[in-house]
C-alpha cells in the first residue's frame, strides 16, 4: 500500500483529537460533579 | 430627540473630549509612524518592492493602530463611570454607537492624513496621481474598521485584559476587509493604476453587512 504511513497518521490524528477532547470534557465533568456533591452535602448538613 | 441629533451630540462630545487632551491622536499618530518606519528598516524597500509590499504594510499599520485607538472608545466611559449616564440617556443605544463610530472614523481619518505623506516619502510611492481613488478605498476600509471596532470596543470593555483582547477579536474578523483593501490598493500602485471594481464591491458589501449587524445588535452593547 502506497503512502500507508500517511494514511495511518491521519487516522491516528483523527482518533487522538477526539480522545483528547473527550478526555478533557470528562475530566471537567468529574470536577464539577464532585463540587456539586460536596455542596449538596454542605447544604444538607446544618 | 431623533437618533441623528443624538448621534451628533455624542460625536461632538467625543471630539470635545479629545480636543481637550489630544491623548488619543498623539499616541496613535506616533504609533502608526513608528510602525511604518520599523517596516522600512525590516525590508529596506526599493521602489519595486515597495509597490509589492507597500499596500500590505499600509493596511497592517492601519489595522494595528485602529485596534489600539478603538480600545478607549468605551473603556474610558467605564473608568470614568460615565457609562451609567450614557445608559440612562433618553436616546437609543444605536445613536450612541453611531456617534462613537463616527468619532472613531474621524480620528482614524486624521491618522491617515498624517500617515499617507510619510508613507509616500519613505517608500517612494507617488500617491498624487491616484489620490482621489485611493481616498475612496481608504474611506471604505476605514469605515469597516470603525464599524466593527466600535462594536468590539464595547464588547471588550466588559472583559478583563481588554487592551489585549480587542486586537485578538478585531483582527481575525477583519480578514476579508484586509484582503479587499490591500488588493484594491495594490491595483492603484500598479504601473497602470485602476480602481478594481470587484474589490471595491467586496469592501462595500463588508461595510453594509457589518454596519447592518451592528445596528441590529446595538441594543445589546450598552446593557448591564
Amino acid at each position: 500500500m502506497q503512502n500507508f504511513w500517511s494514511l495511518f497518521a491521519a487516522y491516528l490524528a483523527f482518533w487522538a483529537i477526539f480522545f483528547i477532547y473527550d478526555f478533557t470534557v470528562a475530566r471537567r465533568l468529574a470536577r464539577v460533579e464532585k463540587d456539586l456533591a460536596q455542596m449538596r452535602q454542605q447544604i444538607r448538613e446544618p | 430627540m431623533t437618533a441623528a441629533r443624538a448621534a451628533a451630540i455624542v460625536l461632538r462630545k467625543e471630539i470635545r473630549a479629545e480636543m481637550r487632551t489630544r491623548e488619543l491622536l498623539q499616541t496613535t499618530v506616533t504609533f502608526v509612524i513608528i510602525v511604518v518606519v520599523l517596516f522600512s528598516f525590516a525590508f529596506e524597500p526599493t521602489a519595486a518592492e515597495a509597490r509589492r509590499y507597500g499596500p500590505g504594510l499600509l493596511w497592517i499599520a492601519l489595522l494595528f493602530s485602529g485596534s489600539l485607538m478603538l480600545n478607549p472608545s468605551f473603556a474610558k466611559e467605564q473608568s470614568n463611570d460615565t457609562i451609567y449616564a450614557l445608559r440612562m440617556a433618553p436616546v437609543s443605544p444605536f445613536a450612541i454607537y453611531l456617534g462613537k463610530m463616527l468619532a472613531n472614523l474621524l480620528f482614524l481619518a486624521i491618522t491617515e492624513a498624517v500617515l499617507l505623506p510619510v508613507f509616500a516619502l519613505l517608500y517612494n510611492v507617488s500617491l498624487w496621481p491616484v489620490l482621489g481613488r485611493l481616498l475612496i478605498v481608504l474611506f471604505l476600509g476605514t469605515f469597516g474598521i470603525a464599524v466593527t471596532g466600535t462594536v468590539f470596543s464595547a464588547v471588550a470593555t466588559q472583559a478583563r485584559m481588554r487592551e489585549v483582547l480587542l486586537p485578538l477579536l478585531l483582527l481575525p474578523v477583519l480578514v476579508p476587509l484586509l484582503v479587499a483593501s490591500v488588493e484594491a490598493t495594490a491595483e492603484l500602485f500598479a504601473d497602470a493604476p485602476s480602481l478594481d471594481r470587484t474589490w471595491v464591491a467586496v469592501l462595500v458589501a463588508f461595510d453594509i453587512v457589518f454596519f447592518a449587524t451592528a445596528w441590529m445588535l446595538s441594543d445589546y452593547l450598552l446593557e448591564e
Binding site: L7, A10, P46 | -
Partner: protein, 243 residues
C-alpha cells in the same frame, strides 16, 4: 455513567464498521491510491464541523432573543465541538496534501477560510474566559459569534477572488466530479456517523455547562446562607449582652 460507556461502545462499534468500509469496501482511487482514503475522514469531519458552526449561529441568535441560559450553553458546546472537528480537518488535510500536491499547505480559499474560522473560534473561547458575569459573558460572546458567522461568506468571497490567480489544486469537486457510487455510499455513511458523533459530543459538553451553572448557583446560595447565619449569631450575641 452507565449510559456513557454504552454510548462509547456504540460509537466505537460504528467507527470500527466505518473504518472497515473505508479501508476494505471503498474502491481504490486510480491516481492517489491509498492516500485518497483520508478523504472519508477529512471531508466528513468538515461536514460535521459546518453543521456545528450552523448550530453555534442559531444558538447565538436564540440567546440574544430569548435570554435563556440554555442557548448560551448550546453555543459554547457547539463551538468547542466544531473546533475539534475543524482541527481534524486542518490536521488530516496537510497529511493528504503532502504526498498528493507535494506541499503541506497551500493558500487555497478552502484552507484559508478553515484556518481563519478556527482562529476565530479560539478567540471566542478566549473571550469567554475573560468575562466573569455569566449573563454578560453569554451576551458578549453571542454578539461576537454572530459577527464571526456573518463574516464567513465575506471571507469566502474575498479569499476566493484573491486566490484564484493561483492554479487551484482541487482534485475532488464534490458529488458531481464522477465519484464512484460505492465511494459515495461510504462517504455518506461516514458523514452520517460524524454528525452523530458531533451531536453526542455536543450533548455531553452541554451537560457540563449546565452542571457548571448549577454549581455556580449553589455556591451563591451557600454563601448567602453563611452570611445570614453569621448575622444571626451576631444578633444573638448582642441581645445576650444587652439582656
Amino acid at each position: 455513567m452507565k449510559n456513557r460507556w454504552l454510548f462509547a461502545l456504540i460509537i466505537a462499534a460504528l467507527f470500527a464498521f466505518a473504518g472497515y468500509a473505508v479501508f476494505f469496501i471503498a474502491p481504490d482511487e486510480a491516481t492517489m491510491h491509498a492516500i485518497q482514503r483520508i478523504f472519508y475522514f477529512h471531508a466528513s469531519s468538515g461536514w460535521a464541523a459546518m453543521e456545528g458552526t450552523g448550530i453555534v449561529f442559531f444558538a447565538n441568535v436564540a440567546y440574544l432573543r430569548k435570554r435563556q441560559p440554555k442557548w448560551d450553553w448550546l453555543a459554547v458546546s457547539a463551538v468547542e465541538v466544531s473546533l475539534a472537528f475543524w482541527s481534524v480537518v486542518l490536521v488530516t488535510g496537510p497529511i493528504w496534501a503532502h504526498p498528493v500536491w507535494g506541499i503541506w499547505w497551500a493558500w487555497d480559499w478552502r484552507l484559508t477560510l478553515t484556518l481563519v474560522l478556527w482562529i476565530l473560534y479560539v478567540c471566542y473561547l478566549v473571550l469567554r474566559t475573560l468575562v466573569a458575569d455569566p449573563e454578560r459573558r453569554a451576551a458578549v460572546s453571542a454578539i461576537f459569534g454572530i459577527f464571526v458567522f456573518l463574516g464567513v461568506p465575506l471571507d469566502y468571497l474575498s479569499i476566493r477572488i484573491f486566490r484564484t490567480q493561483h492554479p487551484q489544486p482541487v482534485l475532488f469537486g464534490g458529488p458531481n466530479s464522477g465519484l464512484d457510487p460505492t465511494m459515495v455510499k461510504v462517504f455518506f455513511s461516514c458523514s452520517a456517523l460524524m454528525t452523530l458523533l458531533m451531536i453526542l459530543l455536543v450533548i455531553e459538553r452541554y451537560r457540563l455547562e449546565r452542571l457548571r451553572y448549577e454549581a455556580e448557583e449553589m455556591r451563591l446560595v451557600i454563601e448567602e446562607r453563611a452570611e445570614t447565619k453569621s448575622q444571626n449569631r451576631e444578633m444573638q450575641r448582642r441581645t445576650a449582652l444587652g439582656g
